[in-house]
Symmetry: D2
Subunit: 265 residues, 4 copies
C-alpha cells in the first residue's frame, strides 16, 4: 500500500523562538520511506539529531515573522497490520535491555496507579497479546472517543476521570494499563489513511511475543494505513514540535494522507 | 574527602520475582570510586546493563526465600561542591543534544503545569544559576521538609498541593519549576554524609553555564559529602530497585556513610 | 548553494545476497536535506538502522535477478566551507568522549606506523589546524592523485609505498598522519559538485579548535559543493554498500551532482 | 569458581601525559564482579566514560613523577565455558544491528584479505560453530604460540607471514578468518586463571547460534577461568591503556589471578 503523507504548519513568530521538530519519517518495520520532502520557509539553519528513541529531530530558532514547515513523503506500508492473538507475555528477565524503560511510569501514563483496575479489565485472559486486546476493547467501550485535537495533553488518570478523550488520551490510558501489568507499551504518533477528520494520529504499541504490536482503540478494527512519525514513552517524548518561550500555535495546520494508486517503484 | 558508603537490603521473597537494581556506583565528576563491593545472598545469576542515562543496572530473578543485597564502596568526593552564582542560562539552541530530554515533563515532574508559578518565584533574578537558586530557596521556605522515606512517590503537583514532602518530593518540585523555565534539570539519587536520619538521599541538578550544578533544598547550605548512585528524569528512572510482580518490601534496609580519616590511596 | 545529487547502481544477483547500504543522506552541519528519494527495483523488504557513527544504514537481502538502487536528494550546502588557520590543537583531556575513537588506528589508517613521518611533515607548524593543513599540502605535492575508483581499498602504508592513489587513498594517508599526532581524524564519503570525472568522492575531517574541519588533498583549494553521505574511521566503516557472499559488482553506476539555479524553498 | 585478579603497573612520567585506561571490570554473561578496587598513586582527577563497545574507560593526565595504577577484583566466573558444536551460522539478515560492525575488517584483522584461505581451512565443516572450531584448531596447529607479550601489535597478515605470535596475534588471525566467512568475531582482553607465564591474556569470541562463544587457540582445550576486561574489534579498541605523547612503558607490571577457595557470598 503506497501512501503520500503531508503536513503543513504555519506560525506567526514574534520573538526568536527555539523549536525541536519531529517530522522526518524513518524507515522501519512495515514502513519504507521511498521519498521525503522537508521545506522551511524562510530557510533557516537547522541541526538534526537522533533522540534516545531513534527518532530524527530537527533543532532551529525561528526568527520573527511567518514560518512555514512543510513535509511530505511517499511511503510503502504493509497491506495488513500484524496481529497475533495468543502471543505470550514476555517474562521481565527475557525483555531486551532497551525495552525495559517502556515498563516505567511516565508523564502522561501513571502506570503506578492502575494495577487493580488493569487486573480487573484483563481477568480471565491469557497473559500477553490477549490482555492488551482486552485493554483495547475496554477502552473502546468505556472511554468515549472524541475525534480532533485537545489543546493540552492530559494524563491517563485524568482521562480515566473524564471518561473521554482524543486518540492520544485513549492511547495514554491504554499504555498505563499495559505497563501496570508489566507489559512494555509505547506511544506512536503518525499518519493514518482514511482518518476522519484527517489530522495527525496517535496509537500505541505493546511488546508481547518478542516484538511490538500495534493497537488502536479509536478504530473498530485494525486496518492498514498507519505511517509512523515517532515513538516514545508518551506524548512528552513524541511531540511533532516542542517550542520554547512564549507559546505560539500554528495558524495553519494541514494534514493529508493520499492513496497512491500505483507506483513505478 | 574519603567516604565509605554501604546499603543493605533484605527481602522475603514468596514467588520468583524479577528485580532491576541500580546500586553500582560509577566514577564521574567530583566522584572517584576507589573500591566497590556487591554481594547477593544467595548468589544468583545477574546481568548488568547500562541504561539510557548511563547508570549501571543489574537484572535478576529472586527465588522464593530470603534475599540480601549488600553494596559498599569507598569513594573520594570533592571537598567543596561547585557553585556558580551568575552562571548564565544556556539558550536552547546551544544545549547539547543529550541534555534536551531533561527539558521535558516527566512522570513526577509535570513541568507543563508550573510556568506561571515559576516565573513568579524567580522574578527579578538573572537568568540561569540565580533562578535555580531562587527556586531552591523558595522550596526551603515554602515546602516543609519531612525527613524519612514516603511509601509511594508523589508528583510535583501533589507535593505542591500538600506543601510538604521528603527529599525526593522537594527535588521533583524543584525540577518541574526549572524545566518550566526551559532550564534542564534532573534527579540524583545517592548517599549523603551526615544526613539525619541516615538513609538514601535525593537532590537535583540543573544545567546552567554549560554544565550541571547541584542543588538541595533539604539542606540549609550546599555542603560536600554527596555520593551519586544514579541520574534520571525523575524517580521513575532512578529507582534503587524496581521489582515486578506482587510487591515486596525490604524487611531490613540499612544505609551507612562513614568518613574515612585517611586513606593510603 | 542548492544541489541535486543522485546515485544509481544496478546489480545482477545470482544467489540471495545480503546488503548493507549507506545511501540515505542526513542533515547536519553545513548541509540540509530538503528532499530525498530512495527507490529499489524490485521492491524488497528493507530494515533501516543507525550505525555507531550516526549513519543511516539499510539492510536487505537481494533476490536473484536484476536489482537497481536509485537515490537522489536536494540539498542545501554552505556557500563557503569553514576554514580556520591557527585553530588550536585540542588537548586529549578536553576531547569529547565520542571523538576519542577517531584517535585510534583503523583498518586502512595504520596511524601507529607514521609517527616520525608526520612529525617531519608538520615541522615548524603551529599545533592544530596548521598541522593538518601541512599534511594536506604534503599529500597534494607528494602523492599522485589518480581520479577514478580503485577496485580494492588499500591502506595508508600501501598508499605511501605506492606514492599514488584515488581520493579515498589520499584521505586514508592524511587520516593516519593526523592521528599519529594525536589529532582526531575521520573519513567522509559523499558527493562533490564539479568533480571530474563525476563519481562518489571521499575526503577527510580533522578535529581541531573544538570542532571538525574539512580537508581534501585532491583539490587545489577548498571549494564549496560537498554533500556528506557518511562518516567513519575509514573506508571499512563507510562503505556505500557492503555485500556478503559471492562478490557482485554494479553493472551500472551513475553518479550525478547538479546545481539548482534557484529553489522556491 | 571464585577468582581474585589484580594488575599493578608503575610508570615513570617525565611530561604531563594523557592516558585512557580500560581496567574496570564489568559484570556480564558468565562473570559477576563481587568487588572491585582501583587505586591511583598519587591520586589525580579521573573521568570515566563508556566506550562504543560498552567498556568502562578512565581518562586522566599523569603528572611528572611516578604513577602507580593498581586494580583488583573478586569475580565469580562460570565453572564451565559454554560450547556448542553444531551451533548454526546466523544469516546476515538475522544478525542484531549492533553485531554487524564485527563483520568489518579492522586495524589488526584484515579480513578482506583472507577469504580463500578461510574457505580452505573450514572445508567440509558445517556452517557456524564448527567452522570457528576448525579455525581455532588450524591456528593451534599452524601458528606457533609464543607466550609473553610482544612490544608492538602486528596484524593478521603479518602474523600469518611470521607463522608465530603471542595470544593477541593468534586471536587477530582467528578473527580475520572468521569475518572473512561472514561470522562476526571480536577480541577479548582479560585475565586467565592458570596462565603460564601469568600476564594479561587475549582470546576471541565468535557470534554463532545467536550468541557469542569463546575461542582460544593458545590453550589445548577450553577450560574455565576467564575474566573479561574489555571487548572490541581488535587490539586497537581494547588497549589496557592508551597513552598519548612521548611513549612511556610500565617499569613494573604485575598481574595475578588467584583461586578463592570459598567465599561467604
Amino acid at each position: 500500500m503506497w501512501l503520500r503523507t503531508s503536513c503543513e504548519m504555519s506560525f506567526e513568530i514574534s520573538v526568536p523562538t527555539p523549536f525541536i521538530l519531529m517530522l522526518r519519517l524513518r524507515s522501519g518495520r512495515q514502513q519504507w520511506v521511498a521519498s521525503d520532502e522537508y521545506m522551511l520557509t524562510p530557510i533557516i539553519p537547522v541541526m538534526e539529531f537522533t533522540d534516545g528513541y531513534g527518532n530524527l529531530c530537527q533543532r532551529l530558532v525561528a526568527q520573527p515573522g511567518p514560518l512555514t514547515i512543510y513535509t511530505s513523503a511517499e511511503v510503502m506500508t504493509a497491506d495488513y497490520m500484524d496481529q497475533s492473538p495468543g502471543a505470550p507475555f514476555v517474562d521481565i528477565e527475557y525483555l531486551p535491555d532497551e525495552v525495559l524503560s517502556f515498563l516505567l511510569p511516565s508523564r502522561f501514563c501513571e502506570s503506578d496507579r492502575f494495577g487493580q483496575m488493569a487486573t480487573a479489565i484483563v481477568a480471565g485472559k491469557a497473559l500477553g497479546y490477549d490482555q492488551v486486546k482486552a485493554i483495547e476493547d475496554w477502552l473502546r467501550n468505556s472511554i468515549r472517543f472524541e475525534p480532533g485535537n485537545s489543546e493540552v495533553p492530559i494524563s491517563a488518570v485524568e482521562v480515566h476521570a473524564r471518561q473521554s478523550g482524543v486518540c492520544r488520551d485513549l492511547s495514554h490510558l491504554g499504555i498505563a494499563l499495559c505497563r501496570s501489568l508489566s507489559i512494555p507499551a509505547r506511544l506512536v504518533v503518525g499518519y493514518m489513511y482514511g482518518l476522519e477528520p484527517m489530522d495527525l494520529h496517535a496509537w500505541f504499541e505493546a511488546y508481547v511475543g518478542g516484538r511490538w504490536y500495534t493497537f488502536d482503540a479509536t478504530q473498530t478494527e485494525l486496518r492498514s494505513g498507519y505511517v509512523v512519525i515517532g515513538y516514545g514513552r508518551d506524548a512528552a517524548d513524541v511531540a511533532i514540535y516542542n517550542q520554547f518561550g512564549p507559546p505560539v500555535s500554528p495558524v495553519v495546520k494541514d494534514v493529508r494522507v493520499q492513496l497512491l494508486e500505483k507506483r513505478h517503484a
